[in-house]
């Protein structure tokens, strides 16, 4: 003000600064409103990974699983597929291939039992 800035301009600047601060607080990880969103995103991210690990960890003992267990695993692979297709291109390349390998093996064991 001492440099001749009109009071209404000062008020506008203060309002803009306040709005910016509030905006930054809202998106920062420490902000109360942001924490649940980030936690949700992380949980969702870890969710498919946990499910992937649970589903694809059974490939080594696929031969010992019952038909029902194998059908269930194939179904879980199919449910996981859209989530993996939603990943960024680099991760999608890797994880979709891995998922397909798992699913194909379980289906192969089922088919092999039918063929004998």
């Amino acid at each position: 003000m001492s440099r001749g800035i009109p009071p209404d301009r000062w008020a506008a600047r203060l309002a803009a600064a306040a709005a910016l601060s509030l905006g930054l607080l809202a998106v920062s990880p420490g902000a109360p409103g942001a924490a649940p969103r980030l936690a949700e995103a992380r949980a969702e991210e870890e969710g498919w990974l946990v499910e992937f690990e649970a589903v694809c960890a059974r490939t080594q003992d696929a031969m010992t699983l019952s038909d029902e267990e194998l059908h269930a695993l194939v179904g879980r692979c199919d449910q996981l597929k859209p989530k993996i297709e939603g990943l960024d291109p680099s991760r999608r390349k890797v994880w979709s291939k891995r998922l397909q390998q798992c699913r194909d093996l379980y289906q192969f064991v089922l088919d092999a039992r039918v063929k004998g």
Binding site: Q60, M63, R113, G116
Partner: protein
């Protein structure tokens, strides 16, 4: 600044190469003597970077095949993986281990693609992007001297693992699932037809020390137990069935006695 801009340009160019490029991927050259040296060049030369010469022997001494070909998504066929600077930067493919953080023998594994040339100022990208004609170097000779050899003079990786000469790691933390041990490990008897060769006893147990069920079934071996299958050596030479690995990376098909030998059926050699 110019160097950084060039590096960024190379990385972006490599990342920008499209899906269609994989279909036009050049042949991958394998050399038996070097246990599966391959040249990876789906994107590199298009981005004005020399091709990557990848040595299976260097990695196989440290990791099982399963780590890369199952957990990291490296395909068995040339050009299918589509590894690029972008995927490495994202922490997948080579970047899963080559991230500048994971340790090997107490030292960080150099970071692939990202950060060039800072991570290895002396050699920059050429640590991997050497072009197709790189000499194997002293490291290979040193490894071979320390390893058990088979009757044909190739490294006997199975014996090396059995004797503890190599102790390949079987997973990457945060990427590999915790797997139970394989419970069904029956041998498969394969009878020779119209040949004077001995039969083959295929041991699942020996193979699963390195690889996983889903790596072979159903892509490489789609048949069930009772199906009549004719394994053809000519087809194997083209990379089918056993030839998927035993043309170059694992001991080559010409080492007949390692499969057709009288002792091939024993569970423990």
């Amino acid at each position: 600044m110019g160097v950084l801009a060039t590096a960024l340009g190379l990385v972006l160019a490599a990342a920008a190469a499209g899906e269609d490029d994989a279909a036009k991927a050049p042949a991958v050259f394998a050399t038996v003597e070097l246990h599966g040296r391959i040249v990876m060049d789906v994107f590199s030369t298009k981005a004005n970077v020399p091709a990557v010469t990848f040595d299976h022997w260097r990695h196989r001494a440290l990791y099982t095949c399963r780590v890369c070909h199952v957990d990291l998504g490296f395909a068995m066929n040339a050009g299918e993986t589509q590894v690029s600077a972008a995927t490495n930067e994202a922490g997948t493919h080579c970047g899963a281990c080559h991230d500048g953080k994971r340790l090997q023998d107490g030292r960080p594994i150099f970071r692939a693609c990202s950060g060039w040339p800072r991570t290895d100022a002396a050699r920059g990208c050429t640590r991997c992007h050497t072009g197709p004609n790189r000499a194997p170097g002293a490291a290979y000779e040193e490894l071979k001297r320390a390893m058990p050899l088979d009757v044909a003079g190739y490294i006997d990786w199975a014996a090396a693992m059995r004797r503890g000469v190599v102790k390949p790691v079987d997973g990457v933390e945060g990427i590999s699932p915790k797997r139970p041990p394989m419970k069904v490990d029956h041998d498969v008897q394969i009878r020779p037809l119209g040949s004077w060769m001995n039969g083959v006893t295929f041991s699942h147990r020996k193979h699963v020390a390195w690889i996983s069920c889903e790596l072979c079934h159903p892509d490489v071996f789609p048949m069930s137990r009772r199906e009549q299958v004719r394994y053809d050596m000519a087809a194997m030479r083209l990379g089918r069935h056993c030839g998927a690995c035993h043309v170059s990376v694992a001991f080559p098909l010409g080492t007949c006695q390692r499969c057709h030998g009288a002792e091939s059926g024993r569970a423990v050699r």
